[in-house]
């Protein structure tokens, strides 16, 4: 038989088609879905998140001398050294796209677990799909408290939620009042999806319980072309503390519009989101020295726990940015999930879920200021202590709670 050109092409095609199969058979791998906004208005978050997850995967798959679960070995020892492979999906901040992408990850990409999603509104639909297919889902960086109260069996969150965060803020207010500062009135400013709504509900309740007067509770449409009307109302209220729950775009526009309308807030204590993003401080940081944001991560921890600084360097080499509240939680999300899969010694959804339920990771083995990672019956980790950070001289300093603080808060804002 002579080999003509067509045979060669066909043969090549057949070999190419079989190659992935062969590769899969040789090195077994664990496929985890990661679902984030990779395009659209919050694409920047997703693109940074990819780097954070890649950093975590690198730590798991390669040998590193850190006291972090799975760092010291290569791959997952419980599954014969299987490597973690991430499949990224783009939900464009749209809950319906999130639903479709989660379904695609599970049915087409055969992922054994999913981590996501930045926007809490998208976490709602993604976690419902995961529940239906018995695939464990970790909310790496969603903070809406209602997420873990929906009776889902496959939902887990290692990080704090907005009630815990808001409680930290009000504890801080109480402490400042004891020191003789005047904090009587609050103005809430929040976007109109589940993140902003849940956050403001938590804050309204805490304000009522602890005797603070909410003089303005302004809900606005996310990604508005203008916030003039909203800022006018904030200005008229002129509360002792302005408490925004805003994503990056609206956060930048809020501060710019405040400047344009001649309104300087007495104090700002922000519910994270846009107020932990470098982009916001690059754009308007000079206008808000002393702004306080809640967080669950602080680079100050590197002084006590050197691996935090080293892992931050790994992330910075990839992204050009320091870990912030989001990228650090994303990193931990994958570590917690991979640790559970490793202990489950299986990629079966129910077995991974059992392992997640049994998770008990000491705080020292994380990059967070948390006491430990241990989930309650609703999948929430109540041992994740939030911190308050103050933006001062171009960087964040931990100012509360007292056990984590490295500096006194500057209050009122300069």
């Amino acid at each position: 038989m002579t080999i003509n050109r067509r045979n060669v092409v066909l043969g090549g095609a057949a070999v190419a088609a079989l190659l992935p199969l062969a590769a899969r058979a040789q090195t077994s791998e664990v496929v985890i879905g990661v679902i984030y906004p990779l395009s659209g208005a919050s694409a920047q978050i997703g693109v940074d998140a990819q780097k954070a997850f890649a950093t975590a995967a690198e730590l798991i798959n390669e040998k590193h001398d850190f006291d972090l679960p799975l760092a010291r070995g290569e791959g997952l020892p419980g599954l014969g050294g299987a490597k973690v492979r991430l499949v990224f999906a783009d939900h464009q901040a749209d809950p319906q796209k999130g639903r479709a992408e989660a379904e695609r990850l599970i049915t087409q990409e055969k992922v054994c677990a999913i981590v996501g999603t930045y926007q809490s509104s998208v976490a709602v639909t993604v976690s419902q799909i995961c529940e239906r297919y018995s695939i464990p889902f970790i909310s790496a960086d969603n903070s809406s408290p209602s997420l873990h109260r929906r009776g889902l069996k496959f939902y887990f969150r290692a990080a704090p939620h907005d009630e815990m965060f808001s409680t930290a803020m009000f504890d801080f207010f109480d402490a400042q009042k004891k020191k003789g500062q005047k904090i009587e009135t609050l103005a809430l400013f929040h976007e109109d999806t589940i993140f902003g709504t849940d956050s403001s509900n938590a804050q309204l309740k805490l304000a009522a319980d602890r005797g603070y007067k909410v003089v303005a509770d302004i809900k606005y449409r996310a990604n508005s072309p203008s916030l003039t009307a909203e800022v006018q109302q904030l200005k008229a209220a002129d509360a002792d503390v302005l408490m925004p729950s805003s994503y990056t775009t609206d956060g930048i526009l809020l501060i710019k519009t405040m400047g344009e309308l001649g309104y300087k807030a007495k104090n700002i204590v922000a519910q994270d989101a846009g107020f932990s993003e470098k982009a916001l401080y690059d754009a308007v940081g000079d206008k808000i020295p002393g702004v306080i944001s809640r967080g669950s991560f602080s680079l100050d921890l590197a002084a006590k726990r050197p691996m935090v600084g080293k892992i931050n360097d790994m992330y910075k080499a990839k992204s050009g940015k320091d870990f912030n509240d989001y990228s650090s939680r994303q990193f931990m999300g994958l570590i917690v999930m991979a640790d559970a899969i490793n202990r489950a010694k299986s990629t079966d959804g129910d077995k991974i879920r059992e392992a997640l339920v049994a998770t008990d990771m000491p705080g020292e083995q994380t990059i967070m200021p948390w006491a430990r990672v241990k989930f309650d019956e609703m999948g929430q980790n109540n041992f994740a202590d939030p911190v308050l950070l103050q933006y001062n001289g171009g960087k964040f300093v931990t100012i509360a709670p007292p056990q984590a603080a490295v500096a006194e808060a500057i209050w009122p804002m300069p």
């Binding site: 395009s39 920047q44 809900k219 203008s226 909203e230 930048i252 344009e260 690059d282």
Partner: protein, 292 residues
Amino acid sequence: MTTATIIQSLASGLLMGLLYGLIAVGLALIFGLMDVTNFAHGEFLMLAMYISFFLFAFFAIDPLLAAPLVAAAMFVFGAVIYLVVVRFAMRAKTNIGMVQIFTTFGLAILMRGLAQYFFTPDYRSITQSWLGGKTISLGGVFLPVPQLVGALVSIAAFGALYFFIKKTDFGRALEATREDAGAVALVGIDKNKVFALGWGLGGALVGLAGAIMAMFFYIYPDVGASFALIAYVTVALGGFGSVFGAFAGGIIVGLVEASTALLLPPSLKSVGIYAVYLLVVFIRPRGLFGSI
């Protein structure tokens, strides 16, 4: 609610409205000229903002000085888009409306994708400019200087455009082509040239708007989307194809948005705009100043 609050709202609404008008007029012009809705209009605005940003970042040119440069660059861009893309879409034998929609819509997605790839999705802003962050206070009413200058530029641009269309040969050719593209060919006017210049002019106008907006708004690949939506409403309100309609429509949208926010919770402020839009569609479908 005090008098100062009301005046402040209306003043802010008027300034924003004049800018909405400037953003929308290019869309109205192109539609009036050749019945093509440019669904990539928001992306034209995005590109203009990025050009202003890069002129500032690399050459330290203030956005105010850069405005004519941005307008010129966007003129070229608009004309090239017509000659390279839209001209061919117009040759479709069947379903020409659909082909045009998909062409400009596809262009929008492509431009967004390229912007995210080359410019990264990071939020940019021009932190230091002559006018940025400056505000004039008149008896408790605050007028941000960039928006104020933007409003003046908008009025000047509309004045120049009016003069251009009514008094120059090319303007008359533009009007004539819009009325009967077949007949102008008989008197020796090159239709393609007129269309290309129309697209260029549309691009230049949105370029001007982009340079002004770069002074006070953040810049990222999707920034055009929310402004484009308002531009479509503005054009539909003012009347498709009417340049003056875009001007009036912009002011109406700005004022309605501001007054809705006074009466209703701010999260519902766009409800007013769409309510007025619906009203116009019911009562006068061709828009307030539409001639079609």
